[in-house]
């Protein structure tokens, strides 16, 4: 059994904190004691796991949000003697803190007492701040958190009694927004509300997580994604069984996330090949899939489809590309080639059209889309029948194409619905009531 000093010696060695003498003692300990050796191996493994975790990039809007919230005077006057601590700076800082506090309080919205006390404190604090500094808080400071306009919740039109029946402030905040009100009263939204799949999805945890995610929000703002949503081939694909199976297929997801596949998707030669009948025929052949073996290769070369392909400059270009070679050596790709659903998918007209579709290829190269495709929530959704039905419905497509819906999805208040199923359901109930 290792004593405390020995354990510490091992930890210090892992941290590179031992003196040369201590390191020598550490090595001796490892040679003599298998338990010490095992502990060292385990701890090194833990340290290596940490090394493998990469740093994440902060959201691009963060810097701007920070700088926007800084004192205006310092920006207007680069060498202002007063530095940062101007009355305006204090007000802006106060507004920022107030907004944080308000958001945090909204998270505790079910507690009416807290809201009452909190609201009173905030009201008093605003009055004091205005009196002390002489600067009323400006509305312009309201959009600084996260750099995203906060659903206009602080400047929406006043609610009427008819608009609100629920006492939940987050729901109220959403319905204070004119655009969202117009959306839920629109024909397309009503149509969507009548759609069973849409209603089912609102109760779906994966869907709510997805809608609340930054990657999905980025994607919603992406022109290629919007084009794709309106694309007939994509819609057909969404409803196809083979595509559904593929979305749930680990190898397919792995492939889609791979750099080689991504490069191929964006290459013109690959795009042409996907639209090439002979290439598709070839890909469906067992010989092509097993072309690693000499016999299979001979069969392949003897095939008519292969001969046609050899005459095709795009195929020759593809064969010469590094990305294609990498793909051929990719285990996930080889697995997929042997997968019946993938072969069906590749043979389908909708998939072929999609592969030749510029928006789809752009999307394949899109980081947010790749993140989404790699996410568990997205995978669950893709395997979800209601989601696939929804994707294929006209009403949902129109809904997704509307600016108001995108605004709704980008609204913090709407995203916050994902925190609670009860909140999400309350929103839907209220939306249905308002829509009537």
């Amino acid at each position: 059994m290792l004593n405390r000093g020995q354990i510490e010696l091992i930890h210090r060695e892992i941290d590179g904190a031992n003196t040369p003498e201590e390191s020598a003692a550490f090595r001796s300990l490892l040679e003599e004691d298998p338990e010490a050796k095992a502990l060292e191996a385990d701890l090194r493994h833990v340290a290596q796991l940490f090394d493998r975790v990469g740093e994440r990039e902060p959201p691009p809007r963060l810097k701007r949000a920070i700088l926007d919230a800084l004192p205006q005077q310092a920006r207007a006057s680069p060498r202002a003697e007063s530095g940062w601590l101007t009355p305006g700076a204090i007000v802006r800082w106060f507004v920022f803190q107030l907004r944080l506090a308000t958001e945090r309080m909204e998270e505790a919205i079910m507690n009416k007492k807290m809201m009452l006390v909190g609201g009173t404190v905030i009201a008093i604090a605003i009055v004091v701040a205005v009196r002390v500094t002489g600067f009323p808080p400006e509305g312009g400071a309201a959009g600084t958190i996260g750099g995203v306009e906060q659903a206009a919740r602080y400047r929406g039109r006043a609610m009427t009694q008819a608009d609100v029946t629920l006492k939940n402030p987050e729901i109220q905040a959403l319905f204070q927004n004119d655009q969202i009100l117009r959306l839920v009263q629109s024909d397309v939204f009503r149509e969507a509300m009548r759609n069973q799949a849409f209603r089912e999805l609102q109760a779906n945890e994966a869907y709510r997580r997805l809608m609340a995610s930054e990657a999905y929000r980025q994607l919603e703002a992406n022109q290629a994604f919007r084009e794709l949503q309106a694309n007939e081939a994509y819609r057909q694909l969404q409803t196809s069984k083979a595509f559904g199976e593929m979305q749930a297929n680990e190898a397919f997801r792995e492939l889609q996330a791979s750099e080689a596949y991504r490069q191929l998707q964006t290459s013109k030669a690959f795009g042409e090949m996907q639209a090439n009948e002979a290439f598709r025929e070839l890909q469906a052949q067992g010989a092509f899939r097993e072309s690693q073996s000499t016999e299979a290769m001979r069969q392949l070369q003897a095939s008519e489809a292969f001969r046609q392909l050899q005459a095709n400059p795009a195929f020759r270009q593809l064969q010469a590309s590094e990305a294609f070679r990498q793909l051929q050596a990719n285990e996930a790709f080889r697995q997929l080639q042997a997968n019946e659903a993938f072969r069906q998918l590749q043979a389908s007209e909708a998939f072929r059209q999609l592969q030749a579709n510029e928006a789809f290829r752009q999307l394949q190269a899109n980081e947010a889309f790749r993140q989404l495709q790699a996410s568990e929530a997205f995978r669950q959704l893709q395997a979800n029948q209601a989601f696939r039905q929804l994707q294929a419905s006209d009403a949902f497509r129109q809904l997704q194409a509307s600016d108001a819906f995108r605004q709704l999805q980008a609204a913090e208040a709407f995203r916050s619905l994902s925190r609670s199923q009860a909140l999400s359901e309350a929103f839907m109930r209220e939306a249905m009531r308002v829509a009537q």
């Binding site: 904190a17 796991l49 975790v53 994440r56 959201p59 940062w84 998270e107 792995e254 790699a374």
Partner: protein
């Protein structure tokens, strides 16, 4: 850049900030936003909260810059604010589902599948630690601070740093033992 040169650059940026130069503020944000965001993220395991914490830290730092004593290292000061703000956020946090807990958004450039799996496992294991212990692990393994630097940031004795680090690592060792190799 050597640590001494980095300190000197920090001091210069801070001085220029105090003179009201906006480009210096921008420079400090450039220099620290990613590091602070990642510390907050490891502490909180929630992108939105990490973003809020980073923003709050910078705003507080700029407003309290006059109270900063240049005899001490700027990075210790701002990392301390980040850890403290993260701990405050954790105290405020309600035991509800967070937006990003289960949504896998991996680091740009990170290889998918295996790397994401490792990242997820490590982050979840980190969240199983007590916040004070987690802070030590984050500063040691993600910021590569020495024992002394961690002690300076957290304002605790070096022996406490070691004790927390070793305890936390032992727990992580058991948690991650069955994990990926």
């Amino acid at each position: 850049m050597t640590p001494a040169a980095a300190d000197e650059q920090d001091r210069d940026l801070v001085q220029r900030c105090l003179e009201g130069q906006r480009d210096a503020a921008s420079g400090l944000v450039d220099r620290y936003q990613k590091r602070l965001f990642n510390v907050a993220l490891r502490m909180l395991y929630n992108v939105q909260d990490a973003e809020d914490v980073t923003q709050t830290v910078f705003l507080n730092a700029f407003l309290e810059l006059r109270t900063y004593n240049p005899r001490y290292k700027f990075f210790s000061w701002i990392y301390r604010m980040t850890v403290n703000e993260s701990l405050n956020m954790l105290k405020r946090r309600k035991p509800t589902v967070t937006l990003d807990d289960e949504f896998d958004i991996r680091a740009p450039g990170a290889a998918p599948d295996r790397a994401a799996e490792v990242q997820d496992r490590v982050e979840k294991a980190l969240m199983s630690l007590k916040p004070d212990d987690r802070a030590v692990v984050v500063l040691r393994h993600f910021v590569s601070f020495s024992y002394q630097e961690i002690a300076d940031v957290l304002e605790i004795p070096v022996r406490t740093v070691k004790s927390r680090l070793y305890t936390a690592r032992e727990r992580l060792r058991l948690t991650l033992r069955e994990g990926v190799r």
